[in-house]
Symmetry: C2
Subunit: 359 residues, 2 copies
DNA sequence: CTGTTAGCGCATTCAG
DNA sequence: CTGAATGCGCTAACAG
């Protein structure tokens, strides 16, 4: 057995190739290759000789770049998030989706290549120059059309989660409108008639405040629009407060506005996310209102809001499953099968934040 | 001008190469290459001809795999997190660090390749078979030594953030012990003598409860150990509650234990993270204790805890800067310069959660 | 300004 | 079971 010591301590980073190893082992390059990949018929004696030569030379295995050119696969799946890292990962649903995605592509043994906004406008989002085997778009705008087209031409499988890029790209979606309607119906069935809603932003610039017709017309975020539709299916004239993001802070702000005037105060608020709902609850508590006695609150997502003491009534969406489905679609497409999208269903979880209105 | 239409609608994904484009344009492959990279001297007429040929054939640009073999660079930086995505991104500090890292490597125009635990024990964490130009280790254990060694042999620049892999790998660290000592001194200077601390987990299995000598002996998480040392520098006999993770929930649990007995109740708690501190505050409020009147609380990190109404007294660590520094070190190393680590300093932010003990 | 030549490092034919 | 030859698709030198 050759000691690996010299290799480890050799400061010189001379490029050692498979050919070098083969030469030292006294075999051909192809044999050496087989010895490494383990996939071919190689005698144990030969393999050992190759491995010994490798460790003597400090050969670290096949060069991934050459390997991926030769095999036509890089073992990398791209994920496009179109925000700054800190913004994207503020959203628990995205994190869970990403988690599901890692699960889904696990059989590939592939890594996830993150494409996010670096803040530097000059830095090219080199989505179309990256060695990816497939790409998952998460909540992306049409901004990427050019690059997406290029990927398609190259035959790279694409899947979209929430945010329809069109074409024949499989989409993973949920029933935003129907689910919200379900929640709204729950609220109505409890006897509420005076209801307001706190929505997610309607466009990337994240204008907040009471919803104006212009904002609604310029909406680009389908999720917000669809969920609002669902609420309106039940409460057509619902008052709408728009948050600047999905966070407790923003929910608090929006709810302060909606709850400010005791005379026009709603008895229930439908929040478009659990974080917003947590903020709404805080706003209520600030005003000395008790949830659910004085105000019913319903959320969306079904995440566990860290630190929230209530069992939030909410629409539980399968965020992890969404990611996993995307991953599985990718796996299928990479093995040549066709894949179609999936539309998931959310379920109503009735917790302790909704109750009949007082008197 | 040739219409791009046919290319876009062509369903067949025939592999179009640069050579094909060059042939159609009636130029050599190298000229066509220059026309694409834009880096060489090419006449406008020729360039246009090449581009026209490309769009006619539906050529989507150079193949990234071939390009990276030829250039010896893939434009990818690996990030190792050694947890599940959902666990890693629960930690705001890691998110900010990652955000800083994207900033830091922006000049590279490179993407971040995430290496996390997929949950599937069979899936190889193929860190050493991935086409990365450099790798950043974030809070990693010795578990990766083998792979790290392989990367080093291959001459791939490595940087570690929090979690010393040893060797000559540059490390980005903060003054965990000194900073905590500073915070503890602040608490003592207010007059507190009866102080407890809530720590981060001491090892990956995340055992929680009162600290036992065995747990302390088996500690593998430097951050927790160092911060505890800092607290002991000021309060040698401090009571220690160990949390199972950095979250509000865990802080709440740990603090409930520490505050349970009114007779032995501390007047101040030093939490090893802001999330834990938020949980401690919740526990206090549950018991009808007012912060800071009845209990002083100090955190660590300096993140904005979403939904926390207090201005938390805490040790503000430069999490974004840490990531950026790592990124910059990578950039330097890739351009051949040597890079050394950086040790950052945290600063005490005195908010409204610390005050002298009552009477 | 453009064409010719020569590999990058490996994995896969196909013979032996 | 092993070796020799071939090219993945591109770009960097160098001539012209």
């Amino acid at each position: 057995m050759v000691s690996p010591e010299p290799a480890a301590t050799t400061g010189t980073v001379t490029r050692v190739t498979l050919a070098d190893v083969a030469a030292l082992a006294g075999v051909s390059a192809s044999t050496a290759s087989l010895a490494f990949s383990g996939s071919g018929p190689v005698s144990d004696a030969t393999r050992e000789r190759v491995l010994a030569a490798a460790s003597e030379l400090g050969y670290a295995g096949p060069d991934p770049r050459a390997r991926s050119l030769r095999r036509g696969r890089s073992g990398i799946v791209g994920v496009v998030l179109e925000e700054r890292v800190r913004a994207a990962f503020l959203d628990p649903v995205k994190i869970q989706t990403l988690d599901g995605l890692t699960e889904g592509i696990a059989p590939l043994g592939a890594g996830l290549l993150l494409f996010t906004d670096s803040g530097d406008p000059d830095a090219p989002v080199s989505l179309d120059t990256a060695p990816v085997d497939a790409v998952v778009l998460i909540g992306c705008s049409p901004k990427f059309f050019r690059q997406v087209e290029a990927l398609q031409r190259r035959g790279i499988p694409l899947v979209a989660i929430e945010g329809a890029p069109g074409g024949d790209i499989p989409e993973i979606t949920i029933d935003n409108r129907e689910a919200t309607r379900l929640g709204a119906e729950h609220v109505r069935s409890l006897g509420h008639t005076d209801v307001a809603t706190v929505t997610l932003p309607f466009e990337p610039t994240r204008t907040r405040g009471e919803l104006t017709p212009e904002m609604e017309a310029g909406a680009t975020v389908d999720t917000a629009v669809e969920r609002l539709r669902g609420a309106r299916d039940v409460f057509p004239d619902i008052r709408v407060g728009v948050a600047g993001a999905s966070s407790i802070e923003e929910g608090l702000e929006a709810a302060r506005l909606l709850l400010a005037d005791a005379a026009t105060r709603p008895t229930a608020i439908i929040a478009q996310s659990d974080l917003l709902a947590a903020g709404v609850i805080q706003a209520a508590e600030e005003l000395g209102l008790q949830v659910p006695r004085d105000l019913s609150v319903i959320g969306f997502d079904g995440i566990r809001v860290d630190g929230l003491q209530h069992d939030l009534t909410t629409l539980v969406q399968p965020s992890v499953a969404k990611g996993r489905a995307a991953g599985e679609a990718i796996v299928r497409m990479l093995s040549g099968e066709a894949a179609s999208g999936t539309d998931f269903t959310s379920t109503l979880h009735v917790g302790d934040t909704t109750a009949p209105p007082r008197a």
